[in-house]
Structure formats: C-alpha cells, structure tokens
C-alpha cells in the first residue's frame, strides 16, 4: 500500500492562535483514517490545509509524490482529493442532479457530451440513494440528504481520497447507520481512501483502520483505535486531567 497523502511538520497560525503545530501524518491507499480531538484541536484546519483553502506556514504536503503547496483548491480537487464540509455546503439553489454535475464538470475532462455526463450524474445519485430527489433543489433536502449529496458531489470528482468532515454530526441513530453504510460503500465499491473527522466515537472506532488524535494543534497520539482510546493522554485531552 503506497502512501497517498503525506504531510510533514505542518503548522498554521491565525494571528496569535496556532491552530496546527508541527503535525506529521500520512494516508495509505485504501485506508480509513480517523481524525479525532476535542473542539478547537485543529482538525478542520488540517483539512483546509490539505485542500488548499489556505497555505500552511511551515511544512510540506504531497499527494502521490506531487507537492500540494502553491496549488489552488480546484487543482487539488482535480489531482484527486475530494471533501465534504463540517457545515454542509451543497449548492442550495440548484437541483440534486446539477449539484452532482458540478463535480463531474469539475474534473475538467474534454470531449464528453452533455448526455453522457447527465447519465453519469444519475448513476451517482442512484449509488448514493438520492435518485428520487433528482429534480429537487438542494435547499429542500433534509440534513442527512444534504450530507449524502455532498458525499455524492465529492464522489463525482472521481477522487482517490475523500476528506469527510463530521458527516455524522446532527444525525439520529438510524441515519448514522445509513451514513455508515454509504461510507463503507464508498470505500469498498469505489476503492477510495478516507480521512475522516468525527465526534461520534463508536462509529469511528469501529470503522477506522487507524486513528490520529489532535489536541490544541498537536498530534498527541496515532495508532489502532483500541490503543488510542486507552491512552491516558487522549483521555486527558477529552475529559481533562485526573483529579484536576
């Protein structure tokens, strides 16, 4: 399994606040890697660094050996890194079909007709269980449907990796089950590597191959899910110091 994304010594400060401090990480092809940590630990900032929303202050980032630094978000997407957003961002005033089409068009492939692209978009809607909503505007969808649509849009860009930012937040138990099924499908059927921020511990512990824990911008632990949850530093980060 080759290394897909590799980040070394990544730091990012916003004014006086250092959101990410000297973080090293890597993602291997086919893995599901969980990224956990308390609020404000720098998880989403790390995602934003990878996807080029803003550049890191220090450190290097590469995807399949090519550097990601100095690249714009759309170029990074075209290289093969898709993402979803913590607060869902589907194109609200566009139909579900059009939302997917944006991802397909975003690949920038030449020489494919409109009909072919529509066909592919419908196929993706089907896989993600949104077929019935094809002509509906995204703003009329429920939260779980919007999250599905975001994952579908990310899928449409034909990524090698998808960064999932708290896709389970705000869902009820049965919806969580549905979302997990879709995530499993994305991994097994499309062979997509997943880097996954989540607060729903049960889910991420079960699904992840490896978990990275951030606290106050630093990586405090990395390892198998069970190792990680039993680590005193991780417990401390989440629950506070013992006898404090």
């Amino acid at each position: 399994m080759g290394v897909l994304i590799e980040g070394k010594n990544l730091s990012k400060a916003f004014g006086g606040l250092t959101a990410v401090k000297g973080v090293d990480f890597h993602l291997s092809a086919g893995e599901i890697v969980g990224l956990i940590g308390p609020n404000g630990a720098g998880k989403t900032t790390l995602f934003n660094l990878i996807t080029g929303i803003f550049p890191p202050d220090t450190g290097t980032l590469s995807f399949k050996g090519q550097t990601l630094l100095e690249r714009k978000p759309f170029e990074i997407c075209r290289l093969g890194i898709g993402r979803t957003f913590q607060i869902v961002r589907p194109f609200l005033k566009m139909t579900c079909l059009e939302n997917i089409l944006v991802g397909i068009i975003g690949r920038g492939e030449k020489g494919r007709g409109k009909g072919e692209k529509h066909e592919e978009a419908r196929e993706i809607l089907k896989v993600t269980g949104l077929s019935a909503h094809e002509p509906r505007l995204a703003k009329d969808l429920t939260l779980i449907e919007k999250k599905r649509l975001e994952m579908a849009r990310a899928l449409a860009t034909k990524p090698g990796v998808i960064l999932l930012d708290e896709v389970l937040a705000g869902l009820n138990p049965s919806e969580i089950q549905q979302a997990l099924e879709l995530i499993e499908k994305i991994r097994s059927q499309f062979q997509i590597t997943l880097f996954w921020i989540e607060h729903v511990m049960g889910a991420i512990m079960k699904a992840s191959d490896r978990v990275i824990v951030l606290d106050q911008g630093r990586k405090i632990k990395e390892g198998k899910p069970l190792e990680v949850v039993s680590d005193p530093r991780v417990i401390e980060a989440y629950l506070g110091e013992e006898n404090a």
């Binding site: 996807t51 929303i53 898709g82 005033k93 975003g106 849009r153």
Partner: protein
Amino acid sequence: MGSEPKDTFPRGERAIGRNGEGEKEKIEPLDESWIEIMDGKKIGFLIFLLILAIFPPFVLSQYWLHVMIISLFYVMMASSWNLLAGFTGQVSFAHAAFSGVGAYLSGMLAVFLGLSPWLGIAAGTFGAAVLGLGLGFLCIRMGGIYLSLTTLGFSEILRIVITNEDHWTRGTMGLQVPGLFAVYSKTSYYFLFLFFAVVMLVFIRRLIRSEWGVTFRAVLNDEVAASASGINTIRVRILAFTLTSAMAGLAGGLYGHYLMLITPDIPSLGQMFLVLAMAVIGGMGSFAGPILGSFILEFLSEYIRSWGEYHVLLYGLIALIMARFAPEGIMGLWAKRRRNPWAS
C-alpha cells in the same frame, strides 16, 4: 433538461430583424418535424418574436417605436447584467460604465478618425471587454459589497473623466456622432436593435443552459464548495465579467449611434440603477425576468415622464415593495404560482 433537442433555436430565427421581409423566412422552418420536437414554450417564443418583428414597425407611431428601441437597448443591458449578477453573484455597478465605454470609443473613433460606426461598435465592444477583463481581475479576491463598491468607484471615475476631458468627449454638451444608416429611419434601427437583442438573448440562453451555466450558478451558490469540487472559480468569474462587459459595450455602441448624441448620462449611475431595477423587478437569476423588467419599466417611465424627478421615487418604491414581498421578482412570483398547486 437533457432530453431536449440540442438546437434550441431553429434556423429561421436568425433572419429576424435583418429586414422587413424576414417574417416569411421564419415561417418556413416550422414544418412538421419542427413542431414535433418543439415544446409549447418554444412555439410561444417564436410567436412572440413574430409579433415583435411585424407589429411595432407598421403599427406603432414613431414615438412609440422609439420607446421600443430604447426598451430593446435595456433588454440587452439588463439581461447581460443579470448574467453577471444573477448567475455568478457579482453585483457590478460598472455595467452602465461599460456601455459608456462602448458608446464613447465607437463615437470618438468615428468623429476623430472617421472610422465607420460599424467598425467603431466592434472596437467599442472589444474595448469594453478588455476593461471588463481588467476590472474583473482586480475584483478576484472581492465578493459581495466590496466588489460592488469597487465597481461603483470605477463607474464614477469613468464618468468624471468623460465629463472633464471635454476636448475629446465634449463633456456634458455631448458628442455628436454619425448614425448607422445613410437614411435615418426608426424602422431600420428597430430591426437592428431587435436583431442584436435576439442574438444576445439566444447566446445568453445557450450559455446558461450549457455546462457553463451550471458552473456559473455553482460559483453564485457557494464559491468555496465550487472550488473544492474542481471548478476554477476565478476563471469563471473573470470570464463572466469580460463577456458581460463586452455585451454592455455592444449595447452602448448601438445606443450611441442611434441617439447620435453621446452624453455622460450613458455611463452614469442613474442609468446603472435603472438597469439594476429592471433586472431585480423582473427577476434576477431568471432568463425572462430582465427582459420583462426592461419593457415594463421603460414603458412605465414614458407614462410617468411628466412627474419629473418623482418617477425615480416610484421606481424606488416599486423596488422596495418587490424586495419585501417578491424578492425573486415578477418571474419568481410566477414560478411560485405554478409550483403552489403541488405544495401544501
């Protein structure tokens, strides 16, 4: 969407407006095969065009024909502004300024170099496109109100320059320019404006129905999400800016050579707000909205001309009422009525 015939606009339409004989040509392509694949909307559109081509020049007085010509100018202005603001979310206040660039460039080339107005209009269109490219580039990192303010500034700078450089532009006295036809005839101008308006609308319609339309709206909806989905948002925004500036330049060039007197009123903010009101009242982000708004407001302004300054007040009032009760304009109201029977 996908099941419609690729050629949205039948061949015969291109003949419209070239001359009075055009109407006969238009009927020919409407053989049975066309009727089969055309839906009601397109037939309606063709009939509407036919009426526009036959009715005004032969029925209306010279005065109302003039009003129709001016309306068509505003159709071009409001529709192209809508492509920029309603489809990519860049609310520019420089659209009238770009029409001024087209008008003045073309006019000055004709007056000082003796260039044919037709070539002048082409040059004016190109000049507006280049300036639009430049302004679009400046505004890359700006969104919302900042972009609007920058374009507002550009618009005012241009107006002040034009007003003060009076040895070139004759300032507020206005620059007298030659007309487009050897023999002045409102009917000729009417067909010319109709031709360019239809060509522009066909172009806009095709654009918003193409992949570009989808990417335009993606940028409008959410720029961050669009770029995270592989869309080069900067290119989309600059393209829209350049394209719509060129359209404004073209409209302005035609307008100048129709009025034969170009004044700083063309690139003024008053003009800009009128165009904006037309697009907003008609319905921003819809294709038909700005067309409807242009005709309604231009005709309305003829009726309330005697009110003097107060007619601006009425526009403001209408715009306010629309903003409160129908933010999506007349087209939005109409779409709502059509949707409602299914909604609870």
